[in-house]
Every structure is written in structure tokens, then in C-alpha cells.
Amino acid sequence: MNEMNEVRKPPVATTGIIGWLRINLFFNWTNSLITLFVIYCLYQFIPWILDWTIFSADFKYNYLGEQITNQEMCSRNLDPENGGACWAVIYVRFYQFIYGFYPRVEVWRVNLAYVMLAFALLPLLYAKLPYRKYFLYFTYIFPVIAYFLLNGGLGFTEVSTNKWGGLLVTLVLGCTGIALAFPIGIMLALGRRSKLPVISMMCTLFIEFIRGVPLITLLFFGMVMLPLFLPEGIDMDGLVRVLVAVTLFQSAYMAEVIRGGLQAIPPGQYEAAKSLGMSYWRMNLLIILPQAIRISIPPIVNTSIGLFKDTTLVIIVGILDLLGIGRGTLADTNWLGLSYEIYFFVSLVFFIFTFGMSRYSLYLEKKLKTGINMGAD
């Protein structure tokens, strides 16, 4: 045993950058060939895209130094040989993309709401935030503040929702839909697994009905049919009707995702909780749901990202979200033919939000896994 003191290390060729390259990129000759081909493609593509989006692009002025006010002044329309993207359209229409037709004098309210949203999300995203408890109180009242701030009332001038648009609508729909659908989805998932036949049947019916219908149908349903069910004289705001439809849609999906997590919890967990004298709600809130939700993080984020992108469908009921404003801009004779720029910009904004969500879910999974061994593994 004494001679074994020297620690044996793995062969050098399998570790470090060289080892990684050798194993992953140049393992055998087909592998090497594919690697070289991909490198060649990237070499062709990256300079071209950089040139188009940045180096040859117009941002505010064209190559003659004039400020661009319509598509004819874009460098690439003045001289097709010269010039890339014409971002001036985004610059000129930036206000509409972010706020829609919100009155300019009141726009500070939207900006304030954006900043407050960031503060409201902070304690949810970082469990280690100092004074998290007080931040959380703010998170709970934030929806109320945001409602009055954006919509008006309590001394603020009213800004009717048909003036809202762009990123504002996208965020309102996305955030409210995800935030409301989560608790409703949990209740539906628990309800569907309930031993009481009436509750379980009602939840199953609701979930299956909503899931069996496309979101567009639900949006039309909200727009056209919901008012028929309301008592006479009560007029529901258009955006609220859409929000109801989006939330119902999302909660049905959320319910199924969480039900999947619930099914993964071993029966022993229920038995242990019951044998300690816990009631149904305590057992679920303290033992079952924390584990089930942890397991379901990837699909929860998946459906949330899906919803965030599906909010673009509201365009068909006449609400202009980010994509809607983009399409509206394209229809403007001043900016005809700039579809590359506009769709690129809209995609980029959506990508930033959805990529952020997906990275956050990875971080969350990693954080929650440390030191915790779930079930069998």
C-alpha cells in the first residue's frame, strides 16, 4: 500500500483544451471533415452578417450624412451596391415599438412601471436578496400599482387600453398571463387528481376543453362571445377580455405540466406527511408542491416561453403588440420594404426575453439541485 501513495493522473491527451478538441472535434476523419466544413460556413457567414447588421448599416444617418426620415433615404435604396440594414426605421418608430400610442406626456408612468416590474421580479429571481421579505411585499402589491399607473385612476389621467401597444402590451399579456396561470394551474392540477369525483371531473373537463381549442379561437371567444355572457351595461375592456382568454389557455397547460410533476412524487412522501398529522393543504403546500414544481421547472419555463411568443396572436383581434406595431410600420408607405430590419428587431427583442427565461431556468435547476438528492438518484 505504501507504494500507492503517488496519485495517478488521467492521460494528458484526454484533458484540457487539446483533449476536448481531440474528443469532440477531431475524433476521427469524418468528424474532422464535418468540423472543417462548419468552420468554413461560419467563416463565410459571420463577416457577412456583421457587415449587414453593423458595419455597413445606417443607424440614424445615411452614407451622405442626411438624417433618414423614410425608406428612400436609406443607403441601400440610394445605392444598392453600398449599405446594409437601415435601422433608422427602428430609431424613428422606437416610441411606438415600446409604448404603442400611449400619450407622450404620460409616458413616464409606463417607464416607472417598467422599472417597478424589475424591482418586483428581483426577490422572485434571487432568493438571497437582502431584505427579500420587504421586496416580496412590494411584489405582491405591484400588480395593483401597475394597474393604476398604466390604466389611470387615483388621480392619474385615464389612458384607455386601445392606446396601449408594442412591448407594453406584450409584457402586460406575458407577465399577467404567466403570473395568473401559475396559481390557477396548480389548483387545476390538484383538482384533477382529487379523490372527490365532482371536483376532479370539473377540472378535467376544463383542462381538456381549453387544451382542445386553439388560442386564436379562445381570443375570438373572448372578444366576441364573452360580452354576451356579461350582464347588460357592463362593458369589459378589450385587453382584459384578451387577458382572460390568454390566462385560461395558459392555466390549462400549466395544470398539465404541474400534474406531471405531481405524478413523479413517490407515494411514500404523501404517507410520511399524513403520518405526521398534516392536513391535505399543508401536505401539498409544504411537501408535495415544492418537490413537484422543482421537477417541473423545465416544462413550466417551456410553456411560459410558448405563451410569451403566442401573445403575438392578439394582432388578429386588433390589439397591436410588438409584432403588430412592426407590421403596422411596414404598411406605412414611408417605410415600405424594410421587412428584414423590422422582423430582425422584433425577433431580437423576443429572443432577449425568451433566452433570458431559459437561462434563468437553467440557473434555477442548478441551484435547487445542489445538495439535494431527489428520490432514487
Binding site: 411514500g268 403520518s275 398529522g277 445538495g371
Partner: protein, 247 residues
Amino acid sequence: MSEKSIISLKNVNKWFGDFHVLQDVNLEVKKKERIVVCGPSGSGKSTMIRCINRLEEHQEGSIIVDGIELTGNLKNIDNVRKEVGMVFQQFNLFPHLSVKENITLAPIWVKKMPKAEAEELAMRQLEIVKIPEQANKYPGQLSGGQQQRVAIARSLAMNPNIMLFDEPTSALDPEMIKEVLDVMVDLANGGMTMIVVTHEMGFAKTVADRMVFMDEGKIVEEASPDKFFNNPESDRTKLFLSQILHQ
């Protein structure tokens, strides 16, 4: 007899589908009595003790625990469960909570104990099961024997009058069985009323006041350990003992 009994099962019957898993089971357990239940697998031993805290529902007969009859009344069931602790074969610790949180959870939420007091209680229970140094670890970081001892501590923290053990050492490596049994012997010496389903015959001989042998859903034999091991009445018991003791 039933006056002094803390647990009383009378003509208990239960079916899983068509399978008659408990057939006219009668059992009286007195306060501070230690009962060891054994028998071949599928004989209904686990089902019987799971009926005592209503993890399984019996269909005929009556079960009275500490003066409370187990019926569909949810309040009664909760009250019985507060009196009765249970330790499972698979430990069933809550993997998302630390060892300390596993133990304090029920005292805090079910008994409304202040957090500081519950934590103090948890540390005391961990000393009883001899692993106070593991308080801040998660169940997944512990060995099987340590996990089972945490499970015992978790049950004891609710200060139960009765402890049920459902094959507590069957999922453990041989090396770890002793550390769990030691804790159980201490508990028995401390005067806890215990019903233990186990195949650990050494443990049975040391602590049992009474042996219960079950087969095919019936209690075949009930006797003192001395009589049970040295002079059993039924042939079925003899066969079982000859097989289990020859291992």
C-alpha cells in the same frame, strides 16, 4: 381488557380488489407494550399497521386508537395521526428539506410550535438518535442508516404515544441495521408503546413483550417471545421460524 388497551382491533377485514388481505384480525395492545409482528411477505402485516394510522382504510370491523375510533371522520383521523408516529421501510424523508427542517416541519405547522423551540426540540431528538452533527445536511447526503434515524427523530418530535415501525431495517445495508436497532431498543427501554413489523429476530427476542405471527391475512399465533421461539403451537409458525432462523 379493552379498557386498558391503547390500540384495539376487532374483527378487522380489508380487501384489495378481490384479494382478502386482512381476515378477522383481532389485536389488543396495552400502553407501553412492545409488539413484534412477523410473517411471510404478503401476509398482511404492513397493511395491518398501516390501518392503525389510517394510511389504509379497513372495510369491516373496528379500530380504536387511544379512545378514538377510526372512521371516515377526517378530524378523528388527524387526531389519531398526531398520537401515532410511523417509520417506513423506505425512510420517506422529505428530500427538499434539510435534516433539521424535516424534523421541525410538523411541530411548527401541525402543533404551532414557535420556530426556535422546534429547532431546539429537533436538536434534542437528533441527539437521541445520535446524529446531531448531521442537522444541516440534506437527506440525500446521508447513509441509509442515518436517514432512518432521522425518520425516527422526525416521528418522535411530534411526541407520539405510539410508534409504528414498518420493516424499518429491510432497506438497509447489513452494516447499518445495528445502528437503527440500537435506537429502537433505547426507545423501547424508555417505555414507548411500539408495534414493529420486522424480520430481525434478535431484536424481537430482546425487546418484544409479545410476538404476533401472521399468514395469509390472519393472525396465526400470538405468544410471549419465549414461548414463540422455543415452543410454538402452530405448524405454520414452526415452518416459518425454521426457515428464517436457518439463514
